[in-house]
Symmetry: C2
Subunit: 201 residues, 2 copies
């Protein structure tokens, strides 16, 4: 989302690549181990950078966590927008979210939502960034639903924004159930049942 880009000195192309590599490795480690379980030292080793490079780009862990939130939210919004843009957008979206859950068996939960569960009560800045990410995600889903609503393929009396919020909530909760139960069936059931109800199948 890059809200903070303007606050930062411009990076050289090489600097931008190094920073991006740190953020990507941090995102992977944090998703696997949780925020508390991924240390700056772990990230430094995974990204193959020196301590002074780490410190140059991320003077403290909070800044790195915030960059990871932006990174995850950007990725998710891009993927959702892309999936929903096609002719059979809802079906492509369903395929995308179920394939992603199957690939990881929902370990670590949602890349963005799991950060919310860990940080909401302890880190107000992170919480606000995750909230922005959820807003953008819901908007991306709603943008994909609006044409279907206009074509009469969704219930006329339910606003696409409300259905988008419901889809996002069901996806988040379904991933949490799947993560805790080590079984993605509750996730598939929840997404498929909601879509069946919304599409009248």
């Amino acid at each position: 989302m890059g809200q903070k880009t303007s606050d930062r000195p411009r990076l050289t192309p090489k600097g931008a690549r190094t920073r991006a590599r740190i953020v990507e490795e941090a995102a992977t480690l944090i998703h696997e181990r949780g925020v508390a379980g991924a240390t700056l030292e772990d990230v430094k080793v995974a990204a193959e950078v020196s301590g002074s490079q780490m410190y140059h780009y991320f003077p403290d862990k909070n800044e790195l966590v915030q960059a990871v939130i932006d990174y995850q939210a950007d990725n998710i919004v891009t993927r959702n927008t892309h999936a929903l843009a096609g002719a059979n957008g809802i079906e492509a979206w369903r395929e995308m979210v179920i394939t992603a859950a199957r690939r990881t068996q929902a370990r670590g939960g949602c890349q963005l939502g799991s950060l919310g569960g860990q940080l909401a009560e302890s880190d107000p800045e992170a919480r606000a960034l995750i909230a922005t990410g959820f807003d953008q995600w819901a908007s991306a889903i709603s943008d994909g639903l609006r044409p279907l609503h206009a074509e009469g393929k969704l219930p006329a009396d339910i606003h696409p924004d409300d259905l988008a919020t419901t889809l996002l909530a069901t996806l988040q909760g379904g991933l949490l159930l799947a993560q805790v139960q080590r079984d993605i069936r509750p996730f598939e059931t929840a997404v498929n049942t909601l879509l069946a109800l919304a599409l009248g199948r």
Copy 2:
């Protein structure tokens, strides 16, 4: 749920009350501060017990966290079963969950689900207990939906177990959105939209 009761020496009535007080205070502190943010010392002070009493009932924090999971799951299953048992069970359930979310403004998220988000990847025993709690919760909802399904008030082609899983997922994800956004509207929207779709209103 008390799976471990049989492993434990029987408590005197006074001992049982002391233990219960420790678990209740721990549940409150853990919900407010997260598992990592609530120390045994905090719980000891809140429950007004001595260090040796704490150690007697809970030799380590993991055991206390497990007792808190059982306590929260028991409470939730009891409340859900009670709400759904009446003539207008779904409406009573909706009222219950929305009133509870309004009271806390979703701070701390769901009493059980927020523990899942914190512990699923780091504490396999806790994860398994939370999974059992979710199973019992979904069963309680399904028990409440089955008569409505038999009376034709729910879509015939959707199994009450699947609708119960979907309701639980939507509730969990809706609470996460509300917790992160510091606004319970996404939670209300998600629950109300799903119920409108399921009840055909």
